[in-house]
Symmetry: D2
Subunit: 346 residues, 4 copies
Amino acid sequence: MSNSLGRLFRYTTFGESHGPAIGVVIDGCPAQLPLTCAEIDKELVRRRPGQPLTSPRKEPDCVEILSGVFEEKTTGAPICLLIRNCDVDSSKYEPIKDLLRPGHANSTYLAKYGHIDWRGGGRASARETVARVAAGAVAKKYIGQEGMAVSARLVEVGGKDAAHLEEVIRDALAQGDSVGAIVEVVATGVPPGLGDPIYEKLDAELAHALLSLPATKGFEIGSGFAAARMLGSEHNDSFGTDANCAGGVLGGISTGQPLVMRVAFKPTSSIAKPQWTLDIEGKPTLLELPQGSRHDPCVALRALPIVEANVALVLADRLLVYKAYAPCDRTVQRQPLSTLGDRLGE
Amino acid sequence: MSNSLGRLFRYTTFGESHGPAIGVVIDGCPAQLPLTCAEIDKELVRRRPGQPLTSPRKEPDCVEILSGVFEEKTTGAPICLLIRNCDVDSSKYEPIKDLLRPGHANSTYLAKYGHIDWRGGGRASARETVARVAAGAVAKKYIGQEGMAVSARLVEVGGKDAAHLEEVIRDALAQGDSVGAIVEVVATGVPPGLGDPIYEKLDAELAHALLSLPATKGFEIGSGFAAARMLGSEHNDSFGTDANCAGGVLGGISTGQPLVMRVAFKPTSSIAKPQWTLDIEGKPTLLELPQGSRHDPCVALRALPIVEANVALVLADRLLVYKAYAPCDRTVQRQPLSTLGDRLGE
Amino acid sequence: MSNSLGRLFRYTTFGESHGPAIGVVIDGCPAQLPLTCAEIDKELVRRRPGQPLTSPRKEPDCVEILSGVFEEKTTGAPICLLIRNCDVDSSKYEPIKDLLRPGHANSTYLAKYGHIDWRGGGRASARETVARVAAGAVAKKYIGQEGMAVSARLVEVGGKDAAHLEEVIRDALAQGDSVGAIVEVVATGVPPGLGDPIYEKLDAELAHALLSLPATKGFEIGSGFAAARMLGSEHNDSFGTDANCAGGVLGGISTGQPLVMRVAFKPTSSIAKPQWTLDIEGKPTLLELPQGSRHDPCVALRALPIVEANVALVLADRLLVYKAYAPCDRTVQRQPLSTLGDRLGE
Amino acid sequence: MSNSLGRLFRYTTFGESHGPAIGVVIDGCPAQLPLTCAEIDKELVRRRPGQPLTSPRKEPDCVEILSGVFEEKTTGAPICLLIRNCDVDSSKYEPIKDLLRPGHANSTYLAKYGHIDWRGGGRASARETVARVAAGAVAKKYIGQEGMAVSARLVEVGGKDAAHLEEVIRDALAQGDSVGAIVEVVATGVPPGLGDPIYEKLDAELAHALLSLPATKGFEIGSGFAAARMLGSEHNDSFGTDANCAGGVLGGISTGQPLVMRVAFKPTSSIAKPQWTLDIEGKPTLLELPQGSRHDPCVALRALPIVEANVALVLADRLLVYKAYAPCDRTVQRQPLSTLGDRLGE
């Protein structure tokens, strides 16, 4: 069951890059939520390949709702969302199908499963993330009803401010190389009380979800690694102010302030530049990706909707757990703890 | 069930800082593993308070094995390990029991559970980690049998190299303040093939486990955030070399090279310096921790065995899942993929 | 996640009777298992409607493998199996769409989810079981490799020996009524040691799986309810004999003897005979199922492959957990404990 | 994690019959529930050994609350309940420690774990159930707040009406034998809507919980096995009446009527009468339980509070899941569906 995440709002993804389809089953979405294909497709468009500076693969990425929705509302039954793979061309990969690819998962998949699904990366391909974005669209709809919103942005590409994006990417492409990036994601409207200590802390679950994305190498929340260089008196957020070193979480539970996180993406492992490697029999070989191989020079470019989806999915899940324990006469609190003075002072 | 972690080697911790005891139930430890109290106590000693530069609380921290071990071997039944709290003095906390503590979890626990367990931080106290260390001692024993070892070290304290530890801490104490730190943890002997894509990737699970520790704000593996500033051609580790930007994981599966991770700890929220805060009715108040309050000026000092424990517990769990799928005539592989050339070339 | 079952060999089903498709995602099937559509279809044929004495609905029930299989072998990635619904005619249900149906789940689904999916029973339809049979075909293949086999048979229909099947069913149909039945299922080749006390006892898990089938009201293993009328000296199976009051399980762990279970099915709730009921506004109404409504007069007739599938899925799951803990130099034991004398005496 | 049950109200038991203690950790109990040791002890008294016709073992069975309760209210943190074993005398078992015991779990534990915990049955002993009763006391308190109650009674002992209990037991004891029994358990006040299809159906979960009890061989709900002999027109309960063939569950979801279940217990495997068996080396041997061995001639006598506890624990768990999905302005419905006419007609 390693392809599932979530306690109550649980999703399971399936599919390979060059198989017939990618999909997801969402189990535990509340009934009566209005939902249409168009709403999901709108999110899929945001991560679709074939846009400038991204992989030239042409995928329409239109979702089919196979179950769980009737008369444009969720029924409480599991929702299966299917996205067919249309622009599949595995032939390009045939010449390199016996080569280990540096920085790529095909070597570890070989070690673990005894074979390589060489068609476009198989299950390890970032194409799997289309399923998360579809599931995330449903989660966003659900948490949106409670006033929550999630938004990601690129803050750094190839070591530079994201304003220099185009230039950095073109340079990398010109060299047959790739670059890494840092994405920041903010969730607003999160009520105080989400997250379940000790081992389902909200920040631990967010880290888990985000580091399940391909090519991620680091996660931080609020002050993050900078916290290690601060004094306690600087770091402790004062109540009644906007200070948010905590990044919206204390003791694993949301404070009501915005959640602020950053994720580090490594440079795409697939590069045009030739690299020495081994074949599956251990013989040193020069790996040259075939002309027309289709890769993103920077995976983070299309990662924004994916990162948002993963955060929304965690929040939807934690909201349901929260509701299980909330006294029924207490509605979801929307005021952050930082305004507790005002609220309680009334 | 938010106080549990692990799929097959699963542990559940319980207990509060000033309650009668802290404990853990390990469910899923293989039978026939030799185990004594002394082996567990040896790890507990490493995190014990009352050492120089740490909290002056005096706890003997001796474990009692309540179940799951017979004739000094595990039986396959759940192992309950109990550590009594001995040096409990809640009276010190009485004067501040109605105050929200900046940077501390008592405000979010109040929001979530409707009350504050003001006795020494209750469940949110880092005292919970004694249970993890006890469980981790069992995990270390188990993975040690397969040649794995885990070792953590402080790399940075208060923004300085850990060599300056004493000086940094004494400065902070003199100012009534606290400092953050960065801990690096390395696991060696990890065979290729541990970790289960997509949502139980080894690195995602390690991040989850480590960020469930109190006071953590960031996690990175291998190149970590630095990856965002590298080119693909620099970052892709060559097979047959020691290069390890991956930090021992590709596609969520171990490569056989050492796992290398870093965790950022924020400065302890409890400081001697007075801070403005609110009481639970929202009235601004000056918080002065009582004379004799017992806190660590830097939580990371005692964190080393705790960090190790969490990593060992994840590895034990993933090793069991690995074995479920390993062909029985294939023993656990110990050679890293980086030496695949040698191995396969034979 | 209530639509999933299994710890390691985990499956999640989705789809409604009159939606576009029924399907299942199997997560945790070992890699390298040979698998083709034809093998799955062979099982689907056994439960297909349109056979004598069963619902006249015409479904080809051909599976499409959407993921997890490459070059006719499983890859270790999740396997999505899809069966399109072809012969859907919801119009027949329109006249009764606002009526609660006695003995049917539409009243409880209304209470729980706030709506009725009136199209052929929606998610509560026994059509969901086609997904289990598909998943079960994979499980059977896997446990078959280890020498296990599962076989079900009707032992009683409408209170009579199953030899009288045709006559009993025709009588019921003639009266516009339906009948219940008892199915016995036997699993052979089960090695000693499967099942995990205390709460994942093999028999408890089998009961759970089988009572998740529609229309089931009872489960027993071995001597079952008759055990309540026996003396200990009669009931205790002697080692070295074929006595099997235990039904193949002692203390929740398989003994190595055949697993023998029985499941009670109630009569189908959908009957031609008119019944008084309420509409969704609480008004008493006479329910007459429309001419041409398609139902099985006895659900148990097509239940045999479904019951087998559920048992096979539990065994596959428990086999994997067993392997996680089995010393690698110990192969799966196939001799029952009853022959321990012979085995150990050698 | 096979020693845990429940999705949100989750409990994990530990301990052996002759180890230092038996205990349970309840994780996921709502905060602010009033709770004292005395309330738990009251339930423990009901299953305590040393009563007439039961095992002569003398256990005070007083609970110690180790965590999760502060100022006599639950805190939301995990609740550890500990019951020390006081009257342990393993010496009686020494003479038979190398003998397989017919009908007992020591042979399968040996096969699975490679050893026998011969001290009074170890983990397989019914003494484990003291932990369930303790946990069940907490669950009863919680569901009691919502108007639910659970009550079990003996309906049949040794094949006779339970009115003949004393006589049947004394006969069995006189012969050095044991008898089986049937227990009926009824839960009232269960609101419509509990239970989560398809694989967390309320009846499937109840069966799972009850068949995890030692010595159980069968489970039925409502009409149970008798359903197999009924016509649909007889079995379908009419709305607006007390008819309850369903036993309070349709499609896996509670109807609002009482839950009615029966569990079959086999005769205790430990009997005074000598039995031929094998020793662990496979040599035929006569097993004579030592004078003074302490066993119940009929396990079902003390099973009533245990059966109730298991049902209460399932209901507590399903109530929490129900609440996660209930609109916050809708309070838990207490009227059964059978009165829907009245309710909706208003």
